[in-house]
């Protein structure tokens, strides 16, 4: 590290660095992200991230859609945690309308969101393993994901783009055998997560690749606005579910796992532990849930009063915030999303200083970005 940047050009003024593109099409940029890396040998000197390869104009589109149609767009923002996204938008509209959501609907939402969190973290574990070069964990975790998706399908009718949460509640009540189904899947999910956990977490090679790599200390992390597992990996126990409980999260007993050094392994470890915590939340919710109405909205047409709100909640990737301005019509005047991935990604340049090419991939993977949300 001493020799870094001593001399960036040789006597002829020829750059000693090699510029390498990673992405937009690259197996490990998690979608269409592009990193321009300047390498000195195997070492990364500089990085310039390029985003916008998936800029679909969602925020603008939201202004042209009615409130109930906007939910479909939110599904597709962070396309790995669809329920969580639906939730934050619905909560924003509910807040501006002053709606009280029935208890059962809240429980259903929590259960589905937590399941979605599990599914999302499972995907992370798998792809993170893939980034590091292990090909089996991804198969194991997708097995779990597939089971969760089957459950989603049974409840909402879709494997990914559910469009299930509604302003004021949910679309329709749960199927009759819901509880048995969930319990069954819970066990299987735990099994799958544990299998991947056993396979990966304490594998020496895995540790060697991820421990001490991409370290970010707590202060820097706060400055960059990291949230979610990326922040908790640095040892800061900040979770919107605990810090500012929404929905019925104050009724559950769960830990907020934190890491120690803020490196890739810690971020991974926090997520693995969160899977177990989420599973326990689901179990508690199942126990506490009782029948009742599922929606507070009588009519279909949503016309919130004039005003604006900011609502935030904890997505698998971190804190998502929605700023909603209503002009009193049936379409939102402005929807602005504070996507967790985008803020987490902003720390990339900092994280990639003085690392290896191979680590660049691992660090990017450990941030667990979803391009749909970054580019919107």
């Amino acid at each position: 590290m001493v020799e870094a940047n001593v001399q960036d050009i040789n006597a002829d003024g020829e750059a000693l660095e090699m510029m390498v593109n990673m992405g937009p099409q690259h197996p490990s940029t998690h979608g269409v992200f592009r990193m321009q890396l300047w390498l000195d040998g195997e070492k990364v000197n500089r990085v310039v991230p390029h985003i916008g390869y998936l800029h679909r104009g969602s925020e603008k589109l939201c202004e042209g859609e009615q409130y109930h149609q906007v939910i479909t767009l939110f599904d597709r923002l962070d396309y790995i945690s669809n329920f969580n996204n639906e939730l934050v938008f619905c909560r924003a509209v509910e807040k501006i309308m002053g709606l009280e959501v029935p208890e059962r609907a809240e429980y259903v939402r929590v259960i589905l969101c937590e399941l979605n969190r599990v599914a999302s973290h499972l995907l992370f574990v798998g792809t993170f393993g893939l980034d590091i070069g292990a090909m089996t964990p991804v198969m194991l975790t997708f097995r779990g994901r597939e089971r969760a998706q089957a459950l989603f399908e049974a409840i909402s009718g879709a494997r990914m783009m559910h469009n299930y949460f509604r302003v004021g509640g949910i679309k329709e009540d749960l199927p009759d055998n819901f509880e048995t189904m969930v319990r069954e899947v819970l066990d299987l999910l735990r099994e799958d997560a544990e299998e991947a956990d056993r396979l990966l977490t304490y594998n020496e090679v895995f540790i060697a690749r991820s421990k001490g790599v991409g370290v970010i200390d707590a202060d820097t992390a706060m400055e960059y606005g990291l949230t979610g597992p990326c922040l908790r990996g640095c040892g800061i126990s900040y979770d919107v579910r605990v810090a500012e409980p929404y929905s019925v999260y104050d009724r559950f007993d769960f830990d907020v796992p934190v890491g120690l050094d803020g490196d890739c392994w810690d971020r991974y470890y926090v997520r693995i532990q969160e899977i177990y915590q989420s599973l326990s939340i689901i179990e508690q919710a199942l126990r506490q849930m009782s029948p009742g109405p599922i929606s507070a909205m009588g009519r279909r047409l949503i016309r919130p009063p004039k005003g604006d709100v900011y609502v935030r909640s904890e997505n698998p990737r971190g804190e998502i915030g929605v700023y909603l301005v209503s002009d009193g019509s049936d379409k939102p005047y402005r929807v602005k999303v504070r996507p967790p991935s985008f803020c987490n990604l902003s720390a990339l340049e900092e994280l990639l200083k003085n690392t290896w090419v191979a680590d660049a991939v691992v660090i990017l993977g450990s941030l667990d970005i979803v391009l749909g949300e970054v580019d919107r």
Binding site: N10, A11, D12, E14
Partner: protein, 100 residues
């Protein structure tokens, strides 16, 4: 087939190497030419050992020649590397040690 075949071949290879050493500018290529010359010598040694010498001293000397050649290549290339790094050239006639 007799010893002369090999001797003539060896001389030819040596001459090619010599030409390379004298005529090329790039130090790396000069080094390659030197390798050719060393090989020419080795051919000669081994041929002589095979035809003339029942104790095979030639072969053993050839092994040592190869050893030395390896050491030489390693060192020479390290020097060339430094040259390239500091002077940004690998050409002999551009290397002016006084300016170094």
């Amino acid at each position: 087939m007799s010893l002369e075949y090999f001797q003539v071949l060896s001389v030819a290879l040596f001459s090619i190497g010599l030409y390379g050493v004298l005529a090329r500018r790039s130090t790396v290529l000069i080094l390659m030419s030197i390798e050719l010359m060393l090989n020419a010598v080795n051919i000669n040694l081994i041929a002589a050992a095979a035809f003339l010498d029942s104790a095979f001293v030639g072969q053993i000397i050839a092994i040592f020649v190869i050893t030395v050649a390896a050491a030489e290549v390693g060192l020479a290339l390290a020097i060339i590397l430094q040259l390239a790094r500091n002077k940004s050239t690998v050409n002999v006639d551009e290397v002016d040690l006084m300016k170094w």
